[in-house]
Symmetry: C2
Subunit: 242 residues, 2 copies
DNA sequence: TGACACCGATGTGTGCAGACATCAAAACTC
DNA sequence: GAGTTTTGATGTCTGCACACATCGGTGTCA
C-alpha cells in the first residue's frame, strides 16, 4: 500500500498498453476506467495526463482516451523502457539500448578524456581495478555493482547531461541481464583489461585510446547479447511530416 | 485560448523551473499555485503530476511541491529540451544535442546501410540530390526542409526506434538554428556532396562508407556551431547511488 | 535543572463525489 | 449535400474526508 493509487494506475495502464493488451487505437472511457481500477475520477485523470505526456494515449472530447501507436511513444522515457524490458518486446528494447550505448559510450569516453575533472578520473581508475579484482574472484554481486558504477562514472564524466542520464537505463539493462540469466559465470578476461585500459586512457587524457577501449568493450557486449534478439524484427518508424 | 488550462499550467511552471526563476529546493504550495495561476485545484494537481513524471518537482506531504535539481530532470523529454533551448542554457542544450547526434548518426548510418528497406534507401538518395540542388540554388527554405527530411529518413532507416525518435529533436535544433541566424547563406559545397555520398553508401549497403560520410557531416556541423557554446560551462552530474 | 522520549495538534498532499462548462462528433433538417 | 441541432465525453470547479510527516509541548528520568 506504499505506492499511491495514482502511481498504480499509471503502472497498470502503461504496462497493458505496451504489452499490446490495450492495442493501438483502442478507446477507453474515463468513467469505465474508474470502475475497472476502482479509483476515483481524479486518480484516473491524473494518470491519463501522465500517460498523455509520455505519448501513450491522447484524449479527444466526445470520443474518449485513445491508445496511440508505438511510434508516438517516447522511447527515452525510463518508465517506457522499463515496461518494454518486461514485455515481449524485451529483445527489441535491449537491442535498441545496446545500439545506443555502443554509439554513445565511445563518444562519452572521448569527452571524459578531454573534460572530466581530476577526481572523477581517479575514481574511474579505482573502480576499474576493483572491477578487475571482483571479476578474478568471481564475486558476481560486487562485479555487477562495480560494472554499473564504472559506466555511470564514465558517462557522468563526459559532462553531457544526456549521456549521463543514460546511466540509469544502462543500470536497468545490466541488472536485467543478471535477472534473466545472461551473465557469464566468469567475466571475460579481455573485457576486464579493457575497462582498466579505458580508465587509464581517460586519466591520461588520451581521447583516442579511450574511444578505442570503449569500442572494444561495446563490441564484446553486443556480440555477447546479440543472440537474445535475433528473432526480433526491426521496426521502421515512418517519418512524421506535418 | 485554444490550449487547455492544464497545458498552460505545465508550460508556465516548466519554463520557470528550467530558467531558474523557481530555483532548486524552492517549495510551492498547491493552494498558492491555484491563486497564482488563477486555476482550480484539479488543473494544478494534474500539471504537478506531469512535472513530477518529468523529474522537475517532487511532492511531499506536510511540506509541499519541491523543485528538484537539474540532475533529476529527464534530459530526453521533448518538452524539457524545448524549454532549455529557449532559456539561458540554450548553448549547453545545443552542445548536448550535437554531441548526441554526432555519436548516434554515424551509428544510424551504419545500421541503415545494413538493414533499411529498399524504398527508404531510394528515398534517401532522392532527398540527397534534391538537397544538393536546393543548396546550389540558394533556396534556404527548401534546403532546411530537405535537410530535416534527410536526417529523419536516415534515422528512421536505422530500424532503432530510439534513434528514429531523435529526429524530432534534431528538427527542433535545425529550425532553431535558422531562427537564431546560425545558418550560412550558402551551404558548404563539401557538406552537400557528403550527403549524397552518405545516401549512396546506404543505398549500396556500404556500412563503412556510410559511417565515414556521416562522421564528416557531423564534424563539420559541430565545428560550425561550436562557437555558440564556448562560454557554456560543462556540468558534471553526480552519480546517483542508492 | 537539563536531556530525552513520547504524543497530540497542525497543515498539506491524496483521494473522493458531484456539478456545470465546453466542444466536437453524430444525428438531423432542409 | 450543407447547415443546424443534439448528444455525450472530456475539461474545469468546488467542498469534503482522510493519511501522515513535521513541529512543539508535555512528561519522565537522570
Amino acid at each position: 500500500m506504499s505506492t499511491s493509487l495514482h502511481h498504480r494506475a499509471i503502472e497498470n495502464l502503461g504496462t497493458r498498453i505496451i504489452t499490446g493488451e490495450l492495442p493501438t487505437g483502442h478507446i477507453m472511457l474515463a468513467e469505465h476506467l474508474e470502475e475497472e481500477l476502482k479509483v476515483s475520477r481524479s486518480v484516473v485523470r491524473e494518470a491519463v495526463r501522465v500517460l498523455q505526456s509520455l505519448g501513450l494515449v491522447e484524449t479527444t472530447k466526445r470520443v474518449g482516451i485513445r491508445v496511440l501507436p508505438p511510434s508516438r511513444w517516447n522511447p527515452f522515457d525510463p518508465q517506457v523502457i522499463r515496461w518494454r524490458l518486461s514485455s515481449d518486446a524485451r529483445g527489441a528494447q535491449l537491442r535498441s539500448l545496446i545500439e545506443l550505448r555502443s554509439a554513445v559510450e565511445p563518444a562519452a569516453a572521448e569527452l571524459a578524456a578531454n573534460n572530466a575533472p581530476a577526481q572523477l578520473r581517479r575514481e574511474l581508475v579505482d573502480i576499474a581495478h576493483a572491477l578487475r579484482d571482483a571479476g578474478h574472484n568471481g564475486d558476481a554481486q560486487k562485479f555487477l555493482e562495480l560494472d554499473i558504477a564504472f559506466h555511470s562514472v564514465l558517462l557522468s564524466g563526459s559532462g553531457n547531461e544526456m549521456f549521463a542520464n543514460l546511466m540509469g537505463q544502462v543500470a536497468e539493462t545490466l541488472t536485467g541481464r543478471t535477472v534473466h540469466g545472461l551473465m557469464p559465470d566468469h567475466p571475460h578476461e579481455g573485457a576486464l583489461q579493457w575497462h582498466v585500459d579505458l580508465a587509464e586512457a581517460v586519466a591520461a587524457g588520451d581521447a583516442a585510446a579511450a574511444r578505442d577501449a570503449s569500442e572494444q568493450i561495446m563490441r564484446r557486449t553486443t556480440s555477447r547479447l546479440s543472440d537474445t534478439w535475433t528473432d526480433q524484427p526491426r521496426v521502421f518508424i515512418p517519418v512524421r511530416r506535418n
